[in-house]
């Protein structure tokens, strides 16, 4: 679940995958494994949709103002403390990571020009490209080690700390100016994902203060920052990936969705992040503004606790998979802005098992499974909360669907401020959702015995062993086979009833070009303003 929770006014909360309360991106956790990269938020992976791209030859100049939901006076420019979508957008303008996620959530080289694993997959040599910080100093291996040590400082709680857990920073060292040798605690085939982890930005050695005059290696230089209000950046002409087209970028904060839309319509901003489906429909194709949909962003699910009654019986879990009318859930709870799921996380991402048949509603089979399990008059409590938009709606739709199979669902609405903690260990069935992250991260954070946010209480030694096997497998084809095997098992008897994937909706002025739509939130091309221009 990763969330991002922007605003707090309940009224607005009714939007999309949660993103609406102040957005903490959730990252983290996963002490196990790999890079737990949690990225947060709803994100999306998208497939291309509208037309903001293209639009001819890039032009230089101008200031783009982008509105995000933010965190008010507590916001910081410390890239390691990033929590919100707005934080990430700002961090991305000023800083770089060694790697970042592509559209399929696989790691793409950024500051690292490449990486090479040792035979045992527990030593990785990472080469840095030639890049300089805004003060003219080169980005060196020492800066990388300093940044990672800062993130993993045991006295702090930076989000990427858990993602960097596989790295033994004591033993890791700089081989030369631009080569780092990372020593890992165990074989980790997914190590590049660690480099792309949410919040794992590279800052200059010794940097501690970021609100005054942050120095990064990113495409924009710092101009000014007022927490909760506005951050202004100027193009970095020396950027290693090519100078941005824009002269200036301003990131402004408006928590209310209607305020972001109005500012966009009124010409006060040129880019508005996180719009809700009704806004999207109202303005799509009307010519006033462009609506972009980042498809397949937020995973929408119900989580069954597999270690307790009634869901410790896999026949009952399967019956629940068959009760769901996914299309109706997408139409009702997501206002149609999304697509149906197949009980597996990460549709379209690297390693996704797309060969499995799409699950359809089958009430007869569900009833017979329930009968075989001796649970014909089953009554279950479904925990939900307005913590993410669509949750209460999905819960009541599912309650009605279950009634047709003879299952009584009682919907219980909990506090949205402590929801994620509350559902972790209590209850049996709950509303759940997640932002984009690599599939292996989803597995390591939520589905291993030692996972710290294992909401389905899925704990199987053989499943853990498969995961370790995948991480120790150098050959991509073989590794994919192992991941698919794990997914087939989840599809057959897992605890996540993943019924849909929500679109992420962005609005831009008609003059804005070059916005990538095939970009889940928190992936490289999402909120990436160095490739955007004003026509």
């Amino acid at each position: 679940m990763n969330d991002i929770r922007p605003t707090r006014l309940p009224r607005t909360d009714a939007r999309f995958p949660g993103l609406r309360r102040r957005g903490f991106l959730a990252a983290t956790s996963g002490a196990v494994g790999l890079g737990a990269l949690a990225l947060a938020g709803c994100s999306s992976s998208g497939s291309t949709d509208t037309a903001a791209k293209g639009g001819g030859k890039p032009q230089r100049g101008g200031r783009l103002r982008a509105a995000f939901a933010g965190g008010g006076a507590s916001e910081t420019l410390d890239p390691h403390a990033s929590n919100l979508f707005a934080d990430v957008a700002r961090a991305k303008a000023l800083f770089d990571k060694l790697a970042d996620y592509g559209a399929d959530l696989s790691a793409q080289p950024r500051l690292a020009s490449g990486w090479e694993a040792g035979a045992g997959l527990d030593r990785w040599k990472v080469t840095l490209r030639k890049a300089t910080f805004h003060d003219g100093k080169p980005v060196t291996a020492q800066d990388v080690l300093y940044s990672y040590r800062r993130i993993t400082d045991p006295k702090r709680a930076f989000r990427a700390k858990a993602d960097l857990e596989p790295v033994d920073l004591e033993a890791s060292r700089a081989l030369d100016e631009r080569t780092v040798e990372f020593v890992l605690k165990r074989p980790t085939a997914g190590f590049p994902n660690v480099l792309a982890a949410f919040g794992a930005y590279i800052v200059p050695e010794g940097a501690e203060q970021f609100d005054r005059k942050p120095v990064g290696s990113g495409p924009f230089r710092f101009v000014s920052f007022a927490p909760g209000k506005s951050a202004v950046f100027r193009r970095n002409t020396d950027y290693w990936d090519g100078a941005p087209h824009l002269d200036e970028l301003e990131i402004v904060v408006a928590n209310e969705e209607s305020a972001r839309v109005n500012a966009l319509l009124g010409g006060q901003v040129e880019y508005a992040h996180e719009l809700n489906p009704t806004t999207g429909r109202a303005h799509e194709g009307k010519g006033q503004i462009e609506i972009l949909r980042l498809r397949n962003s937020g995973m929408q699910a119900f989580a069954m606790k597999t270690d307790r009654k009634p869901f410790d019986d896999r026949r009952i879990r399967e019956a629940f998979f068959l009760i769901a009318d996914r299309e109706e859930l997408v139409q009702g709870a997501l206002s149609g802005a999304g697509e149906i799921g197949n009980d597996l996380f990460g549709k379209g991402y690297e390693y996704y098992a797309d060969g499995l048949p799409q699950r359809e509603q089958d009430l007869d089979r569900a009833r017979s499974l329930l009968k075989k399990a001796g649970a014909e008059d089953l009554t279950v409590t479904l925990d939900t909360s307005p913590v993410a938009a669509g949750f209460p709606e999905a819960a009541s739709i599912f309650r009605d669907q279950a009634a047709k199979a003879g299952v009584t669902i009682k919907v219980r609405t909990g506090s949205k401020d402590s929801y994620w903690t509350d559902i972790l260990d209590s209850g049996t069935l709950c509303s759940y959702r997640s932002g984009a992250m690599p599939i292996e991260t989803h597995l390591s954070q939520r589905l291993l015995t030692a996972s710290t946010t294992n909401a389905t209480h899925w704990r199987h030694k053989d499943f853990d062993a498969l995961y370790q096997q995948a991480q120790s497998t150098k050959d991509t084809g073989q590794r994919t086979a192992v991941y698919q095997r794990m997914q087939r098992r989840l599809y057959a008897e897992g605890g996540f009833l993943i019924w849909g994937f929500a679109d992420w909706i962005i609005g831009t002025a008609r003059t804005v070009r070059g916005v990538e739509t095939d970009a889940p939130a928190n992936s490289l091309d999402w909120a990436r303003f160095d490739k955007v221009w004003l026509a």
Partner: protein
């Protein structure tokens, strides 16, 4: 005048006690909310180990009473504490949020007083006739429109359709004064409801006052109608309105959350909402103190003014 001094001192003392009570109550209520700052910060990745680290680094693992004692002793030294979420001093949160809120409140009050008194007097002078009926029904109707709806409507018409005014103050931050056009719609929304209550109170007070024996007596002395109205009747008529005005100012200063959210004005209301959602208790407490003190001072001031205008009014302390 010594009676008045004693009365004022008593009022202020009572006010201090009320403020302390408000702060304690706020502390207790925030403690009672499910989840603390660590849980709120962890969001949907509630890794228990991370929550424990956050909790420890915030000092949330200490007993509530100890934290309250620390905070109170800091307060006595004028230190409002530091935010749990950002580590910045609470006073900067309040100082930053106060500017925009104060600006909006001042502008609103500057327009509100003449407008509502004018409308009230106008309606009272034409009691029962067209002007009165017009004023009365428009104010009643306007009062029924919630601020959010009113704001959305004004934005749609004046900002999006006609494009006369900017729809929000996004990105202007605290330098609102440099963008006066962005203030027009928020001030209109803020005015919309108070102007109705005040105008109706002034109208009712004015009708009573003009019908009172002293007004008739004044007229018999041959004093001009305008003088009777403004020098004799109005002071009595505005007494209840003064107290309502104090409550309105208080409401404006406490941050008008809806208006701030709709127009993206980073005032006290925004600070409060963020702080509550983050369970940022020091910030919530700091705001509670400020709001408590403001309420007490404003109401005391209003009572003083009311006593001055209508000494026989036996204004309740």
């Amino acid at each position: 005048m010594s009676g008045l001094t004693a009365w004022t001192a008593r009022r202020l003392l009572l006010g201090a006690a009320q403020t302390a009570a408000v702060v304690l109550l706020v502390f207790a209520l925030t403690e009672a909310l499910p989840g603390d700052a660590a849980v709120a910060l962890a969001g949907d990745q509630p890794d228990p180990a991370r929550i424990a680290v956050i909790r420890e680094s915030m000092g949330l693992d200490r007993p509530a009473l100890e934290r309250l004692a620390d905070w109170t002793s800091g307060l006595l030294h004028g230190d409002l504490g530091t935010s749990l979420a950002s580590g910045r001093p609470v006073s900067t949160y309040i100082a930053d949020g106060f500017g925009p809120t104060l600006l909006l409140a001042t502008l609103t009050v500057l327009l509100l007083v003449p407008l509502s008194v004018g409308l009230g007097v106008l309606a009272a002078r034409h009691e029962g006739r067209l002007a009165d009926r017009l004023v009365s029904s428009v104010t009643l109707g306007l009062y029924a429109v919630p601020e959010f709806a009113c704001g959305v409507l004004l934005i749609t018409v004046f900002a999006i359709r006609l494009q006369w005014l900017p729809p929000t103050a996004v990105g202007y931050g605290t330098e609102l004064i440099a963008h006066p056009a962005a203030l027009v719609l928020p001030v209109l929304v803020l005015l919309s409801r108070p102007v109705c209550t005040l105008a109706r109170l002034v109208r009712a007070g004015m009708i009573d006052a003009l019908a009172a024996p002293y007004a008739a007596q004044a007229r018999r002395y041959g004093i001009s109608g305008a003088r009777v109205r403004y020098a004799h009747a109005l002071p009595n008529a505005v007494t209840p309105a003064t107290q309502q005005l104090a409550r309105t100012i208080d409401w404006l200063l406490s941050g008008v959350i809806v208006v701030e959210a709709l127009f993206v004005i980073p005032g006290l209301g925004t600070v409060l909402i963020n702080a509550v959602a983050e369970r940022d208790i020091p910030v919530v407490q700091g705001l509670a103190v400020v709001f408590g003190v403001l309420t007490v001072v404003l109401n005391t001031g209003a009572d003083l003014v009311a006593r001055r205008f209508a000494p026989r009014g036996e204004v309740a302390a």
